[in-house]
Symmetry: C2
Subunit: 342 residues, 2 copies
C-alpha cells in the first residue's frame, strides 16, 4: 500500500503499523552539531535543544522548520453519554463545534496567537457510538472509517500536527480504553472530566468498570479495543498519528482523551509514538499515570483540562522558540565570543 492510499479496514491499518519509518538520525546529529557551536553554554537551552533535534529527526531535515503548524480538533459523540457520566449534555459537542467555527472557543484564540491552521472535523455527531456497556462502541467498518478520516487531516507541507478532541463523555471512553489496555482499576483512571464529582463520578467509574469487564477479554488487540471502547474522534486521532508518521510530520498530543487515543498505537507497538510529544500534563488525573506508562515527559504543567487541542496549541510557541534559537543564533565564531576556559 502506498503511503497516500487510505486503509479500508482495521487489518490494513495493522499492516501499515508494521512498516512505520524510523527517525532521520543524520538530521538529528546535524542539529546536535550546530547546537554545540551556538553562543550559549552547552545545553543551556535545556529541552528546547532536545525539541529541535526531535523535530529534525522526525521531519527528516536539518534545520527543522516550523512555519506551517496545523491544529486538528476531531469531534464525536458517545452513546455512553446517556448514562450521565458528564457534567454537560451531549448536545454540547455540536454546540462547541459551532463555537469553533464561529471563532469563540479557547482553541481559536490559541491558534490565532500561534499562527496555526485550525481544522475542525465533525464526525457524524447525530450518529453517536453505541453505549459500550451494552455493545461494542463501533463495528469494524465505522472504526476503520473514522481512523481513515483522521488520516486525511495530514497533508504534505505541514511542519507540525497538533491533535485534540471534543466529545461529551469522551473522558469516560478514554478511561475505559486505557484501563483495558494498561490495567489497573477503573478508579485509577477515571477523573472529573468536565467537572463531575460525588455520585456522578461514582457512576462514571462504574460505567468504565462495566465497559472494561464486558470487552477486555473479548478484544483481540489494541485496535479491537479501540473499536469496542473508543469513539470516532479517538479513532480519528489514531489515524492522524499514523498518517503523520508516514508523512514525516512530528505530532504534538494534547491532554487525557487525546493521549489515550494515541496510546492505542503504543499498546500495539511501543515505537509508534516516537514522533509524538505530549504538550502538557492535564489536571485530569489519569493523564499523568498514562504519560508515565508511555515514557512521555510533557513540556509543561499548567493545570489545564480543556481538551480541544488547547495544550498542544499552547506548546507551538515553545517549539517555534526552539527552532528560532537553533536557526537564528550566532555561533561563537561568528559573534567573536570566547569559548569556555579549559
Amino acid at each position: 500500500m502506498s503511503r497516500f492510499e487510505t486503509p479500508a479496514s482495521l487489518d490494513e491499518i495493522r499492516a501499515v503499523m508494521r512498516e512505520l519509518p524510523g527517525p532521520d538520525t543524520v538530521a538529528a546529529e546535524a542539529a546536535a552539531a550546530r547546537e554545540a557551536t551556538l553562543t550559549k553554554p552547552a545545553g543551556a537551552l535545556g529541552r528546547l535543544e532536545e525539541v529541535t533535534a526531535w523535530l529534525a529527526a522526525w521531519q527528516g531535515r536539518h534545520p527543522p522548520q516550523l512555519e506551517r503548524p496545523r491544529v486538528c480538533v476531531f469531534a464525536g459523540n458517545h452513546g455512553v453519554a446517556a448514562r450521565g457520566v458528564s457534567a454537560y449534555p451531549a448536545e454540547v459537542t455540536a454546540q462547541m463545534v459551532a463555537n469553533f467555527i464561529e471563532g469563540g472557543a479557547a482553541i481559536n484564540q490559541l491558534c490565532k496567537l500561534a499562527d496555526a491552521d485550525l481544522r475542525v472535523y465533525e464526525m457524524a455527531l447525530d450518529q453517536p457510538t453505541a453505549d459500550f456497556t451494552e455493545a461494542p462502541a463501533m463495528d469494524e467498518d465505522s472504526c476503520a472509517r473514522a481512523a481513515a478520516y483522521g488520516m486525511m487531516a495530514v497533508e504534505p507541507g505541514i511542519d507540525l500536527l497538533c491533535l485534540g478532541e471534543m466529545g461529551i463523555a469522551n473522558t469516560t471512553s478514554a478511561a475505559a480504553l486505557v484501563t483495558a489496555l494498561f490495567g489497573g482499576s477503573a478508579a485509577d483512571w477515571v477523573g472529573p472530566g468536565t467537572g463531575v464529582s460525588g455520585e456522578a463520578l461514582a457512576r462514571k467509574t462504574a460505567v468504565v468498570a462495566a465497559g472494561v469487564e464486558r470487552h477486555r477479554d473479548a478484544a483481540t488487540d489494541a485496535f479491537d479495543m479501540l473499536r469496542r471502547l473508543g469513539g470516532q474522534e479517538l479513532a480519528a486521532i489514531c489515524g492522524a498519528v499514523i498518517a503523520a508518521r508516514l508523512a514525516r510530520t512530528p505530532v504534538l498530543l494534547d491532554g487525557f482523551a487525546c493521549t489515550a487515543a494515541a496510546s492505542v498505537l503504543y499498546a500495539f507497538d511501543p515505537r509508534a509514538l516516537d514522533h509524538c510529544l505530549v504538550s502538557h500534563v492535564s489536571a485530569e488525573p489519569g493523564h499523568r499515570r498514562l504519560l508515565e506508562i508511555l515514557g512521555q515527559r510533557p513540556l509543561f504543567d499548567l493545570g489545564m483540562r480543556l481538551g480541544e487541542a488547547s495544550g498542544a496549541a499552547l506548546a507551538i510557541p515553545i517549539l517555534k522558540a526552539a527552532v528560532a534559537c537553533h536557526t537564528g543564533m550566532a555561533t561563537f565564531a561568528e559573534a567573536g565570543v570566547s569559548g569556555a576556559v579549559e
Copy 2:
C-alpha cells in the same frame, strides 16, 4: 518623593519600599467574573486563568492587556570573576552584549518571536565590582546608582516587564547573596552556572562561603547585603522590580541570578514580589530552593539555564495566550452553548 523621581540613595529606596501599592482587587474580581461565563468548564484553563487575574490585579485594569511587553537584560562585571569561578573569561560579558546588539543571542530570537521590545543595559563593564571576598562589591553610591539605572528601564505604557541578566561570575554573586539572606551553606546554593564542575565548582563554593563569612554579620539589611555581595546588574534588577510596582507593570522574572536579585526585595518585605511571577525553574539547582522560599510556582521547567531573560521571554506567549483566551472567547450565552447540568 513622587513615583517618577529617581532615588539617589539606598535610604531613599528603602523609603519607597515602605509605600508599595497593592493589587487592584476590583480588576482581579472582574477577571474572575468574566472567566466564569466563557465557553469552557470552570477552571479548565488552569493557571492561564490565574495569570489573567494576576495581570489584571497588577496592571490595575480589566481586561488586562499584553500588547507591549518589554524585555530588559542588564549586564555587569564582577571582581570575583578573577577567582576562576566561571567556565568563561570575564570578557565574555562584553562580547555577549555585542552579540545582543547584533541580534545573535538566544534572547534576540525569543523577543522577535514574542514581538517584545528588547533593551540591553550595559553597566560600566570596564569597572567591575570589587571582589567580595576582599571588600564590599559596591559602595553605597554605586549600588544606589545601579538600582536607579534599573528603575529607568520602566516607562509608561509597558504591559509586562521581563527581566534578565548577563554577567560572567554572577551566579557566584547570586549564590552568596541568597546564602547570606536565607541561610544554609554555600554548597546548598552553588551550582554549575555556565558549566563548572569538579575543582572549579569547589573553588566557587569556597569563594561564596568566604564572601558570606566576611559580610553576613556586618550587613545592616537586605539592601546592604546587595551592596556587599551583589553586582551592578543585580542591583538594577531590584530597581526595575520596584519601579514596575509603582508603574503598575507586572514583572516576569527569569532564572537563578535574576530571581536572587529580586529576592533582596522579598527579604526586605515579603509582599514586594507580589507583582512578579517567575517564568521557569532553572536547571541551576539553587533556583528551585529559592522559589520555594519565595513561594513562587514557576510556569514551566524546561531545564534551561542560560539567563539573559530567556526563560522570561519564552513565557510571554503563555501570558499572551491567557489574555487572548480571556478577552477573545465567547460566553456560553453568546455562543448558545448549554451550561453544566445541575
